[in-house]
Symmetry: C2
Subunit: 220 residues, 2 copies
DNA sequence: GCCTACTGCGTACGTCGTTCGCGGTTAGAG
DNA sequence: CTCTAACCGCGAACGACGTACGCAGTAGGC
């Protein structure tokens, strides 16, 4: 199993014919990486650590994967297999997208390392494409350009990740640099009442407003 | 100048009284880092590289900065000094925020490394706080909870970064993993007409829709 | 049976962030 | 003035990282 030459892991032939059969599978490697990421974040996913998890060495991993980034791509797509969505007949496109957004967000929140890994992946795997497909299917009845829809899906995904990030890492901002004279409103806002609980359904409201503005009504 | 013990760079005393005067200034260090980041991205900003830019060594930098992350914080806030905004009397809060959003995005697009650096910064510097203050000032006349406004500003910043990212790195996605059977709509969308130019003013529409939905009209 | 492609793996290279301790310098304390 | 403690720049080192190379062994195609 060569980890080089071809374009991406998804198109690469899984196995040559000649040599001994590989001792590992891509699925196991991805699972090992995910196991490490779940505990120590993406920083804990080093070639050596993943290899140790599989009781082998780092150089062996390069028989399966061309680089660390490719391993991350593999992990992302494996995690995306956890996404499931069943269309309903009683809801419109906006409702369907909101439901997709919410289950996607919960997936990101459950595996926060995804938020750090996704940006590197410019070669989406089958499960990631499946997610995309679900979004497009939800908008099937909507009369808009496909380009327009895909733009909206891209923005939607960004917003989902945005909310997932703030949910995963409670915004512990250190406002030590604040000067009451230069930032009166900020000071007033912070020294005022305690922050309290975030607005309920902020996520759903944001998603609805965004998609509505991007896809609904007038102007094309 | 000790790079340790105190909470953040912003509150740390700039200089002790006893020893010889430092040969460098934080501003120069940040500028050197920015210079490197402008060419080779954040990856090019290593302690050794920044030190070499200042004709010194990596260990010397630690007299000024506690860690690489702190150096990044410094760079981010220095770059944020490039943000300027003058309120107008003839526009409402939404118009003001849209203008802020657009100039912020152009700042991100001009210095794409900011998009990779910001996530690490949980200790905003004075210039970053100044940006926040501008947003709050734009909404001064708006009758909403301060909490609500700050949430909206947080989401706004996320959306700005989202669009800036897609503008800086043209989405060269490799769809090699696509199976026409499993992803019919995606295939149809991609094999159909060429992607063509993105929708005009997608950014402004998204910002307007989002802020409108988050802050305007009914429901509290 | 040989050749060839493939396997796992030990080793090594260069780079990274960071720490430690040295010699030299400066300012406040006595 | 002397002394001393705090501070400076810096060389060297540590451990960890991603990755390349080459070796010994194995299994299928001819």
């Amino acid at each position: 199993m060569t980890g080089g030459q071809h374009g991406s892991i998804w198109t690469r032939p899984q196995r040559g014919a000649r040599g001994p059969s590989p001792e590992h599978r891509l699925a196991d490697i991805a699972a090992a990486g995910i196991r490490l990421a779940a505990t120590g974040g993406l920083a804990a996913v080093s070639m050596r650590a993943v290899a140790a998890e599989l009781k082998t060495t780092a150089s062996t991993l390069y028989r399966y994967v061309a680089s660390r980034d490719e391993l991350l791509d593999l992990m992302v797509d494996t995690a995306m297999a956890g996404f499931a969505h069943t269309p309903r007949s009683d809801e419109d496109w906006l409702g369907a997208l909101v439901r997709i957004a919410e289950s996607t967000r919960s997936l990101y929140v459950a595996q926060p390392w995804l938020l750090d890994a996704v940006p590197s992946s410019s070669a989406p795997g089958p499960n990631t494409l499946c997610w995309f497909e679900h979004c497009l299917q939800a908008m099937a009845a909507l009369d808009r350009t496909t380009l327009r829809k895909m733009e909206a899906v891209g923005v939607l995904n960004g917003v989902i990740m945005l909310f997932a990030r703030s949910a995963a890492a409670p915004t512990a901002i250190d406002f030590a640099a604040m000067d009451p004279v230069r930032h009166p409103r900020l000071t007033a806002a912070l020294t005022g009442s305690s922050p309290g609980p975030p607005t309920v359904d902020l996520f759903e409201r944001a998603v609805r407003a965004l998609l509505g503005g991007l896809l609904d009504d007038r102007a094309g």
